[in-house]
Subunit: 341 residues, 2 copies
């Protein structure tokens, strides 16, 4: 087989950024995706219905004529979020609220430390039919334990709000996978492309590699294996959320060490190669679009994408240094077997 036609992806976790960076990275996502759940941790963050409308407008303004790509908008579930704002956000088309625990990742300052204080907000989201997306790391805990320690919060919210749809974002540990499997059907889990490839050794095993550094940080080989097994399992609780997160090369390399991996350019080629390697190609489409559509209740889309078996070398970077927008994609310099046709 040298050609594969599947439905365009639903990428249920992507950072599109703002302004010039948005303009630069958006084409990679719209070329492969039907829908993308756009994270709200821009500056200033998407907190209100007005913020959400403005951010969506800035994205829509950049879509080429005739594009069928649909950004799914989110807002930040912050300590200041009110049930009244939830109603407004829903009315303006919000799909999900994203909860960032305090200080755990890029632009998560002013995040949540008291998860129980937000019960009224979860309640309002449940009533409004909004999805609660969780960055599942407990602040103030040793980095490798942050996700494991957060699972108690996930269990608590899931047990108290049985009709609230909850997504544990970008799982990185075998423990998280087991927890999501065990919880009821209202709890799902996104898996990123890079966490299906990387372990902590890619960050610290040889020389320090900022381009493999992300939050939550990649864990042990047995954790990565558990993520791959979940992605290949055909269990509809596990679906794609790339967490594609562009940072400039300067912000990555020059003693800044920003966390995030920019996977949008290689999204489907990298996943296809992984599923093919494990002889599970027949499950790829469900992982990249079907399971997410089912969980989120998205309209069924018909648009497809063709991938052709033709090797290509992933560019070392997109954008030039002069513009200050150079970003290094995941798998830069590596040769992939498949490309977008």
């Amino acid at each position: 087989m040298d050609r594969l036609e599947i439905k365009r992806a639903n990428d249920m976790h992507v950072h599109l950024r703002q302004d010039d960076m948005l303009a630069q990275v958006l084409p990679h996502t719209i070329s492969q995706c039907a829908h993308a759940l756009v994270m709200p941790n821009i500056t200033p963050a998407v907190l209100t219905a007005d913020d959400l409308v403005a951010y969506r407008q800035s994205i829509l303004a950049l879509l080429p004529d005739g594009s069928t790509f649909k950004p799914l908008m989110t807002f930040k579930v912050a300590p200041t979020t009110s049930p009244a704002e939830i109603t407004k956000l829903k009315a303006q088309g919000a799909v999900a609220g994203k909860l960032y625990p305090e200080g755990v990742t890029t632009n998560s300052e002013g995040g949540v430390t008291d998860f129980k204080a937000l019960y009224p907000v979860y309640e309002a989201m449940q009533e409004a039919g909004l999805v609660l997306c969780l960055h599942g790391e407990m602040p103030g805990v040793f980095s490798l334990d942050r996700e494991s320690k957060f699972l108690a919060v996930l269990r608590d919210i899931a047990s108290r709000f049985a009709d609230l749809r909850i997504v544990l974002e970008h799982a990185t540990t075998a423990e998280a996978i087991a927890c999501v499997k065990e919880l009821p059907a209202n709890v799902a889990c996104t898996l990123t492309v890079h966490h299906l490839y990387l372990t902590l050794d890619d960050v610290i095993g040889d020389r320090l590699n900022p381009h493999a550094f992300c939050k939550p940080v990649a864990k042990r080989p047995e954790d990565r294996d558990a993520l791959v097994a979940a992605a290949l399992s055909g269990n509809s609780k596990f679906f794609l959320g790339s967490d594609s997160a562009p940072h400039t090369v300067a912000n990555k390399e020059c003693d800044c060490g920003a966390a995030g991996v920019y996977t949008a350019p290689v999204l489907l080629p990298a996943l296809l190669e992984l599923f093919e390697k494990h002889c599970k190609l027949e499950l790829l489409e469900a992982f990249t679009s079907g399971f997410a559509a089912k969980f989120y209740g998205l309209p069924e889309h018909k648009e497809t994408i063709v991938l052709v078996q033709k090797s290509w070398t992933v560019p070392e970077q997109y954008g030039d240094d002069k513009s200050g927008l150079s970003v290094k994609p995941f798998l830069a310099g590596k040769t992939l077997r498949w490309q977008v046709g």
Copy 2:
């Protein structure tokens, strides 16, 4: 108490580098140490008696008139090392041989993979009264497990060569501390300044921090606590080997991620503060000079150093960028309570 006079340190593991970098970093070591065990992983490495003589000469040539500092010379225990060379090395005043497993740290290419193949070399070192210094990490293993997996090699060599003095260098795990305690008196262990301060969180817990990155990488908080407990225990098996390892700022930050922490400038001030904090000041001198002298059979030295309680801010860097030799010291920008008087 605002003044402390103790014997000058014996730093049993230091990287002095070569040429201009040697000239830049040497003063920090000679200002605080009576002896320093100088690591042989320069380029090209110290492999033969001739190499050792030349490297020692390059160091001695830089000592100020009247300096009593004595560099203790080492050679690299490589797959090519012969028992005959051991005899020559001993004759030229070698104190120890350093074994680097293949690829585990800076300039460890061409390192050892078959530890048993070197039995004749260990035998020759035992007969010559040379110390075997081990970088205790098993190649090809997940980074966080490399030290633990290496302990079987340490146990094997220690059990077969009961009269060979062996040092497990720069221990980073509670498991290594327990192993060294349990092995006979011919096995000791160096502890670095930075591993007594750092955990993996200092490298990856927030933004990526290349200046806290070293090999072996710092581990979990409970590992760090075990190292601190060993340093404060008064057990003569555990003594100072700073592994002070200067890399240029460019080599650290610009997508190069070199491994190593430059602790020489803050060596005794940082240790004093730690011992003082734990109310163990009376054990500092044994940790920084006495235990090493006993294990290595060094001549007892009388030279002392005075530390005064006067706060200072550690410089952001030594050397200038123009010369290409700028290095950032450990605890750069931090205020320390004690300084060299």
